[in-house]
Each structure stands twice: as C-alpha cells, then as structure tokens.
Symmetry: C2
Subunit: 347 residues, 2 copies
DNA sequence: AGCGTCATTTGGATCGATCCAAATTTGCGA
DNA sequence: TCGCAAATTTGGATCGATCCAAATGACGCT
C-alpha cells in the first residue's frame, strides 16, 4: 500500500486557526448541540476557509464505530445484481454509509480474498451473494465471528441472515398463468440443474403441473447455460419430436429473450404461436419483441431491504438470523399468448 | 454512526498470546523479511487460532497510506457503467484495493454529498462520471485540493485527468463504413443536442460526409431521448419526405435497437432495406435482430485503465493531468447492408 | 459580593496499527 | 572464549479523531 502524502489538515489545524480547542471543533463537526452558535459559526467558517476534510477512518477507530457495508456479488454486469447493488448503495447513502464493493466472478478463491479484504476495513456488515460452491465455514473463518453477514440469492450452509427469492412460488405463478391461458404442453427451459435457484424454479413448475393434473414430459426440461446466446442456440431441442410444447417457462429473462430470438430464427412468432414467460423482470424484458411476460422481484427494492437489514443487525447483534423469502409478482406482457388451435394456427 | 461493539482482537492480543511484541506481529502481518521463519510461523498460528482480523483503517491512519478508490457513477443499472465499474473493481482488487461505490442518479446535489462522503474515507483517488450540469469548482471544493480525480465519460470544467471515448472518431468510422457500402443518403439518428457526447458524435458524422463530398441534409438529423422506446416512436421522422435516407448512424445502441424495432413496425427490414449502425456495443447489440453493427468501446477494459491511472496518480502526485481519448472500434454485424437499388428492392 | 446552577469548553488518555531508534540475540572468525 | 557485525526483536511516540471528567464562564438570586 503506497504512501499517500496528502495535505493533511486535522482538527488541530482548524482549532488553532480559530482559537478554540480540538475537542470543540470535534463537537462542531459532529453537530453537537453543546457548542455555542457563535463558536459553531466561527469554526465552520474556518473549516471552509482552509478546506478541512474530516477523516472518518480516524473517527471510526476511536469511536469504535463504522460507516461502511461490504457488498459482494458475482458480477456487476449481470443487470439483476447491478440493480440490487444500486438499491443497496442508495439505501446506505441515505444514512451516511458507504458501499465497499467486491466481485468474485463466481470464483470461491477470489471470494475468500475479497471477503478478507473487505473485513479488514471494519464494515458494519457484509451482504454476500455467494459464488457457486462456497462453504459456509470458509466464509465464517474469513469474516470473523462477530460481523453480520446477509446471504442473498444463493444458499450457504450455516446460520446466516438469508434473503432469497421465492423461486418456487414464482415459477409456479408463471406456469399457472400459462395453464390458465389453455396451454397443456409446457416446457421448462434453460438454466443449470446444479444451480439451486434453477432447481427451485423447476420445482415450482412441476408443482403447478401436478396441481393441474398435467403429466410431466421430461424431454421438455431443457438445460442450457443461463445466457441469452446459449438459450438461443438450444431452441431446436424443444421441437425434436411431436407433439412439441406450445409454451415455455424459462429459468430467467436472459434465457427467455434468447428463446425468443431462437424462435424467430426458426420462423416462429413468440407471443403469437408460442408463449414465453421469463423470470427476474430485467429492464430489457419490457422492451423485447414481443415484451416479455415475467416474474418481477424488484431487485433494487431488495437491495434496499438488504441494506436496511444489515444495519439493523449491526446495531443490535443479538437479533436472531432470519430467512426471508422475497415476494415475487407475475407481470403479464405480450409474450404469453394462448396456444394455437389444433391446426397450428395462432388463436 | 452507531457503535460497533465487535469483538476487537488487536495485534497486542496476538502478541501476548505467543509471547512476542506488538511490533513483531506487525512485521509478520505485513510480510516483512526481517522476522525469523520460526517466529513467523508461531505468530501466524496464533493469528489463526484466535481469529484475529487486521484493522486496515488503523494501519492506514498511522502509515498515511490508503487502500481504497472511490467510484462515482450516475446509475449502475446502465449496463455501460456496470461494466465499467466491474472493470474498475477487478483491477483494484488485484492490487489489494477496495472500491468505494457512490451513485448520483444524475443529481448534482447527491453527487456533492456522495463525493464528500467518499472523500472522508481517505481514498487514494476518485473516478467520477459527473452528473449532467456538474461544476468543476464545486467538485474541487468538496474533494479537496490534493485528491486525484479522474473524470470519465463526461466533460467537467477544470484541470482533471480525463478519459473520454473518441466519439468523433467513432461516429466517423460508422459513417465511413456506410459510405463504403454505397450509401449516400445517411441520417444521424437520436440523442439530445444538449449532450456533449451526442454533439461530438454528430461532428464525426458530418466530418465523414464532408470528406466524401456528400451534401448534408439537416432534416436527417433527428433528435430523440436516448432510449429505445423514444427512438422507436420517432422513426416516422426519417420518411416524411422523399427521397428518404437509406441508412442511419445512431447516437447509441439503445437508440439503434429502438430504430430497428420501429423500422420493423413500419414493415421495413433493417439489415436488408435499411442500414443501421449503433454506438457502444452493449451486450444486446450482438443479439438483436439483426445483430447490430456498432462502435465498441470495451467499458470493462476502460474501467481497468481508469483504476490503473488513478493509482498511478496517487503514487506520484506530480504527474500532470492528461486527456485520454478512449479508442473505439467498428464492429461490423448484419444490420449494415448496402443500399437498395434505385427500384427500392434490396441489393 | 458570594454562591449555586447550567451552559460551554478543554486537555489528557485512547482506538489499533506503524515508525524508528535502540536493545538484544545470533553467528562466525580469530 | 571473546568481539563484532548482522539478524532479529522491542518499547515509546504517533497518525487524527473521540471520550470523559474536570475546568471555566455566564447568569440569576439572596
């Protein structure tokens, strides 16, 4: 860590400059009601005059306080995480906290390094979306025993605060919506079987089919990388055998958008002769052709809630950990149409 | 700022626990070659045993060093900024720094608050994409005189390090590409005249037309909000009078994608009877129908470069500020076709 | 004038680390 | 075995703020 030979103005410089003591200036910068209005004005003028900048690190050290929260995500370029991060930062900024950012790129080793690095900055807590394959014990070792951690988006073994989307319920809503439109041949499209969120969503899909007494066709559960490109490439798998599905519940919006592209490339018309439902409601979902029916989770709001929760736990370390299912909501747009009639023409 | 009654293990606790002095433990944690291997092993074992966590804030205070960099953007939900932020964080993490995140939501007041808050954490420097309407003097006041600031993406008056895309050149490349394909009636589509990036891109467009001795038709410069939706709505403006343009250089990818949608809605075929070029190469550009020819700026790489540069300036405060034009690259995909022949049928 | 009360201000110790000059130990050659 | 240089370890002062108990000042009242 290189030296930072910055011009260091301290409380002492301010104090000397206007003939009061260090302690008084400290009271002024903290907005204490103890100081006389005249004194306050004099000190504030001096602060502006010399361009003093408060050193919060020093203050936090002495006062055993904190003004930051760590946020660790896989990859900011995922719009879901970006929105979430924006929400976290927004809520923290409102109460004078700063977000310490860390990204893992899905690497457990990098995650350990990032967590260790963040913990050294004495954050009030850490909000973590664990990289695939993380072990709770390893996380606990590196963040220490007393730092509140909120786990988000993925499961992690151990006793953590835990915010997770209600994946089951969301996929169930999506599937029920398609069933209500008249579909009986519904695929579950995209995602990796290994991912817990994918498993949960598929469970919700199966549940809805079961509730409607629709037989499950295993060939219609199609695994892909959770990206648009891969999803577009695999579209053929839906149509290898007749009868083909007339609708698909997708692992997420990226996959759903890819599926739409792939359908168009095959001369199909999503929203007219094939129904598509996504999951996440990323900003692009409303703008695709056709606009995507999807499950909204309001990631920005979830970020705000996560920030609020971690500060709560930081204030009162005795609060028990809690598992919170994030509510989800079906957003109906134009990609979900009724099934074509038996001749294959759109309804 | 609430108290943080965390279990505070210090160097002293480690020292007592294994019978050496504070100073020796400090040398160990910093990896100094001065300590004997046996001592180091003993100390490291004790550190693990009691779960000691290094307090970097205290270290930075004493050593007058720093291990963070502030990053202030308008909004992380813009994928361009998200990619940029990911690049910054990546590069910083590699050298043991932490990213302090701040977002302004395009509000100058919030920006002042965020900058002030970040500056109090003694970062090595700040990377700033200024909110529209920022004044350099205001920024200077709040970050202090000696903190390196790198301005990114937008101009800001004053003497700053400055990274900006080579907007002129990019738009020029795009326009030349269309000219080379045989187009003579080329529009400049979308963006706000007030935005400096839009002005620069339009200048590049005009330059290329001039170089090719093509007369400029002012009616073919069409202003829109820089969003997909607005761009799609304004498509009609291109075709109010004959002869209509056969191609468009767009302000950015969002606008270009909107234009494509709008063209399709009017029964046209972008990439077949009308050529479209975008700007930014956002991830969706490769996946639209048809895939978009555009100007790539590699935001993640730019983020890495910005991080590198700010650390350089932090190490050596005497380095002069520099204005760096970010190189751009034409990515040819399928949306840029030759012009239809005189009968209006695709070439 | 003397005194108690309340408002305001203050210096010394401290947070957890590093710096530094000096102390101590070790190793080696004579 | 002793001496000296090199290797290793150490305690006290310090970074820039806050805490705290105690000092000072202002004011009203008898």
């Amino acid at each position: 860590m290189p030296k930072t030979p910055r011009q260091n103005l301290t409380l002492n410089d301010v104090a000397k400059g206007c003939g009061v003591s260090r302690a008084t200036v400290s009271l002024v910068v903290r907005g204490s009601p103890l100081v006389h209005a005249d004194t306050r004005a004099k000190v504030e003028a001096e602060i502006r005059r010399i361009g003093y900048i408060y050193n919060r690190a020093a203050a936090n050290l002495r006062a055993q306080s904190t003004s930051s929260v760590g946020l660790v995500v896989n990859d900011l370029s995922n719009p879901f995480f970006a929105e979430f991060a924006a929400g976290v930062d927004e809520a923290l900024a409102e109460v004078g906290y700063v977000t310490l950012l860390g990204s893992t790129g899905e690497s457990v080793e990098r995650q350990q390094a990032v967590l260790a690095s963040l913990a050294e900055h004495t954050p009030a807590g850490i909000i973590l979306s664990p990289a695939e394959g993380s072990k709770g014990a390893a996380v606990a070792r590196v963040v220490g025993e007393y730092l509140p951690v909120l786990v988000f988006n993925r499961e992690l073994d151990g006793d953590w605060d835990y915010f997770v989307m209600d994946n089951r319920h969301g996929a169930q809503l999506a599937t029920e919506h398609l069933i209500a439109l008249g579909h009986r041949r519904i695929a579950f499209y995209g995602g990796h079987r290994a991912s817990s969120s994918c498993r949960e969503r598929r469970e919700g899909y199966l549940q809805a089919l079961g509730d409607a007494d629709i037989a499950v066709e295993p060939r219609w559960s199609i695994e892909t990388a959770p990206t648009r490109l891969e999803a577009a490439r695999q579209v053929g798998a839906l149509f290898v055998r007749d009868p083909a599905p007339t609708a698909a519940v997708c692992y997420n919006d990226a996959v759903a958008l890819g599926l739409q592209l792939g359908l168009v490339a095959r001369g199909r018309h999503p929203g007219a002769d094939f129904a598509v439902v996504g999951f996440d409601d990323i900003p692009e979902a409303a703008l695709s052709m056709p606009p995507l029916t999807t499950i909204a989770t309001a990631p920005r709001l979830r970020g705000r809630q996560a920030a609020t929760r971690i500060l709560e736990r930081a204030r009162d370390r005795s609060i028990a950990t809690e598992h919170r299912a994030i509510p989800v909501q079906l957003i109906v747009r134009e990609s979900s149409c009724p099934p074509p009639d038996s001749n294959g023409t759109p309804a």
